[in-house]
Amino acid sequence: MTTTTPGPSALRGAVGTAHTRIEGRDKVTGAARYAGEIPYPELAHGWLVLSTVARGRILDVETGPILAMPGVLTVLHHGNAPRLHTDYIGMLGVPPDPTSAVFQDDRVPFAGWPVALVVAETPEVAREAAEALVVTYEREPHDTELVAGHPGAYAADGHMPAETEKGDLEARLADSAFVVDEEYTTPEEQHSMMEPHAATARWDGGRLEVVDSNQGAGWVQSELATMFSLDASAVRVRSEHIGGGFGSKGLRAHQVSAVMAATALQRPVRVVLTRRQTFSLGGYRSPTAQRVRLGADPDGRLLALEHRSLNQTSTVYEFVEPSAGVARVMYDAEAHRTANHVVRLDVPSPTWMRAPGEAPGSFAVEVALDELAARAGLDPIDLRLRNEPEVGPVSGLPFSSRNLAACLHEGARRFGWADRDPRPGVRRDGRWLLGTGTAAASFGAGAAPSTALVTAEADGSFTVRITAADIGTGARTALTLIAADALETTPDRVRVRIGDSDFGPAMIAGGSMGTRSWAWAVTAAAADLRERLAMTTGIPPEGITVRSDTTEALGALAQKERHSYGAQFAEVAVDTATGEIRVRRMLGIFAAGRIVNPLTARNQLVGGMTWGISMALHEEAVRDRNTGGHYAPDLAGYHVATHADVPDIEADWVDDHDPDDPVGIKGVGEIGIVGAAAAVANAVHHATGVRHRHLPIRPDRVVAAAGSAGGAVDA
């Protein structure tokens, strides 16, 4: 039932029909060039050197022997690097992460901190020299372990208030017929996008040009200009094709060090991160330690809800993984308390990673709901339907549209939920125990100010220019469909150019807000252009161009709770003798606004759900307590789901429409992962009778739990 609600601008109907990616052929034939593979004459190559101690001070960087190596051009480090301007708030409302503002002092705040850049004629020489560079440190004791109740924890806001509270929690818990009070943990998780970070910087006629792989060319451009105290017009950043980002690809050490080196050498310099380097330089999802307390009346209606989450951040940068934000949208209770806390450890700076907050937060809350359903003898879907709030549980604001119930109903119908025997641990297929589980999901639906240029060309075609980023989402194709409808033409007559900061300010590819923000700007410019064309008799050779800016329109939007929703369903097989868990099928039904391109939207949703399987069963970055550094930081040591782990995933959607958006879009980038890990974990409980509250649900955890089993136990 791939249906879409026609929006006000759906005059021609390109939006809502399946289109393959415009650049798809270029990508599969290799014609599409990525940031690390575009040739330049005189290109030099930089290789970052990272700290091997988790906390301390750099005593010496022995550059002499390195500079004497044939082919080595320079070594940049805190002793010779230019000073950067870092005291500012960037376009996303946060200061720069000092990890990216490289080589500014001799402090080492974590293992894997950038301490030098070796630049050479070839990447091979640069790497060999970088690995030979001797750096001596004064080592200090480190603390790299996140534990619940860490004495250094404090409440922190991030992008939302740290704490919310209403009602008398203890009293309502005491009144409750059923209570859940459990702790949940999620591990450090890495973005693991296919393409590691890569940038080439060069000076071209007094202008700094950076070709990069990022989620916002304008974002990186503005940060570089500010950091290097350059006029904004003197910096251009381009990012044509991006092999995945997931939150990791903003301003990072590779761009800043490349600009430093290009400036020092006055020739183009490329810096590419290795997979191992991305583990400490690219950001990551912090581990979380969460506690959920639920209290319900005999009918399963929530009287009390508390969700507390603790995450780690570095000592140089505060990042909040706002897991406790989930219940502020999803579930109400008379007594309602949520809190996000952080603790500063000697670890790399975490950052946004697909569904920040919602991904780990929904694991805790949606497993806790499943536990409550079991204790109350209620069907887990029933329990959720009984607790559908009328207004925002914390804000009291109306919902723009809330189609969670429709997702749960449609998902239950298609998954065959009605036939489910709720008893855990009673279905067997050979050595496998079988179970099914469900979880609900939400993710914010927003838009941020953007500008777009739309040109009516003399030949009757149109050119759209916007600093959008296609990080693999299909944004370029989606914007083509949107522009075609808005211009009342066909997609083949629209050329969309993106990924160039010269096109003006625009939202980044992030927060599930990219397509909606850009579509708004494109739609607005197209409307203006059509008015202009209606008054024009001919189009001059240079075309007619109009520019839009959505700042005002967005500022006028009424305050509402605006979110996408989803219902996740999973069936798993568990061999408790060996600890193996295999997901047999998964279904996700979403209410994510109007779907622009069903082909790539489904791709986004299935990708998110796949990541949910991965989060539930595989992903875990391991830190060595003795050294404070990562253990086996590569894709052999950090496992993500393989094809064989993802047998049958179906994603679909119900009719949904954001009434306040010109195209009706909400965004599909992140909702797919939300709740997915909880659905898998709940299915594992249904299969085995064992409740797993710590991710990933590793074989050793399953084996250990089964070893102590004999009925329903906890792991």
Partner: protein, 330 residues
């Protein structure tokens, strides 16, 4: 990455001579492990001697009904060989359980036997590791060791051998033939891999400069009914956290012959002779299988975070033997 020379050898004697001339040279098979290690700096050979074109790419029947497998046979070809699949099915299953299709197309039998541990400290130049730098210490004993050894390890090293193929070969008494500067030699696979002791950097009995030329499987009717099962947290493209190669002949409900080898539990594929002794002549039932597993695992010395492996291996041995016995009954 250090610059290195590259030469292709066309006959075995030539290959051995090239290596003998340069103590800093290494043989290159499929390169699926060596090249990775060169990129991370764990291996820094001055020269690679490519042996992929040597005439060692055949799987042949021996007169006694066994198989003689050339060292450059790819993992893919080995797993697809009709004789291997019919006479030693666990070997084909083991090979197919390893790596990915692309890697198996490149990886050779000789290289598979000589691949290095995937212990994360071994591949991290900043971490002490006795296997990489003798005398430096072992980071895993007090660090991360969820997937480290529970059998036959020492305080000096707790790394496990990563091969799946080697586990099946160990169950079937494979013999490793090699050519060295001093002439040809041969070792049973259980002697080919050395005990860890205080010399974890010495992994095999191969003389310096020797080249594996063949692996010989003696005739083993028991192997026709054999199985390899590999446990890992994801379904593909991961090293084992525990594996079993087993073969069983059951007559009248009694085990006449049993072969059992365990993977991912020790520095080498682990031949479970104590378990085999318990099985031979015992009723082919769950109690015997559990007793056999317990007999083998009595020697287990788990670390603080890998004790689950003892339970897992016990369960796995019982499960695989039960499956095999069930097949036999049909």
């Amino acid at each position: 990455m250090r610059e290195f020379g590259y030469q292709r050898a066309h006959d075995v004697a030539g290959a051995v001579a090239l290596l003998a001339a340069d103590p800093d040279a290494r043989y290159l098979g499929g390169g699926t492990n060596l090249v990775d290690l060169m990129k991370t700096g764990v291996e820094r050979p001055a020269r690679l001697v490519d042996v992929r074109e040597l005439p060692l790419d055949r799987v042949e029947s021996t007169t006694d009904g066994g198989l003689r497998i050339g060292a450059t046979v790819t993992n893919s070809d080995l797993a697809a060989d009709p004789d291997v699949r019919r006479r030693y099915p666990a070997l084909a299953q083991a090979v197919l359980a390893g790596a990915s299709g692309q890697l198996r197309n490149m990886a050779t039998v000789g290289g598979n036997l000589l691949q290095r541990t995937r212990c994360g400290y071994f591949t991290d130049l900043a971490a002490p590791c006795n296997k990489r730098a003798p005398g430096a210490g072992c980071s895993a004993v007090t660090g991360e060791h969820h997937n480290h050894a529970v059998l036959g390890a020492s305080d000096h090293c707790v790394a496990v051998h990563p091969s799946d193929m080697g586990v099946a070969l160990t169950a079937f008494d494979a013999r490793i033939s090699y050519e060295s500067p001093d002439g040809p030699g041969e070792a049973p696979i259980t002697d080919f891999y050395l005990p860890v002791s205080d010399t974890p950097h010495r992994e095999t009995a191969l003389p310096p400069g020797a080249l594996i030329t063949h692996v010989t499987l003696p005739a083993a009717p028991v192997a026709a009914r054999s199985r390899y099962r590999k446990v890992r947290e994801r379904a593909s493209y991961a090293f084992a956290i525990g594996s079993v190669a087993a073969a069983l002949t059951v007559e009248d409900g009694v085990v006449r012959e049993a072969r059992l080898a365990l993977g991912a539990v020790a520095s080498r594929p682990w031949r479970a002779r104590a378990a085999e002794a318990v099985l031979t002549g015992a009723p082919a039932d769950g109690a015997s299988f559990a007793a056999a597993a317990d007999a083998e695992l009595a020697a287990a010395r788990p670390l603080p975070h890998n004790g689950y492996k003892v339970t897992l291996m016990r369960n796995l041995v019982v499960s695989v033997l039960t499956e095999l016995a069930g097949e036999d009954a049909r």
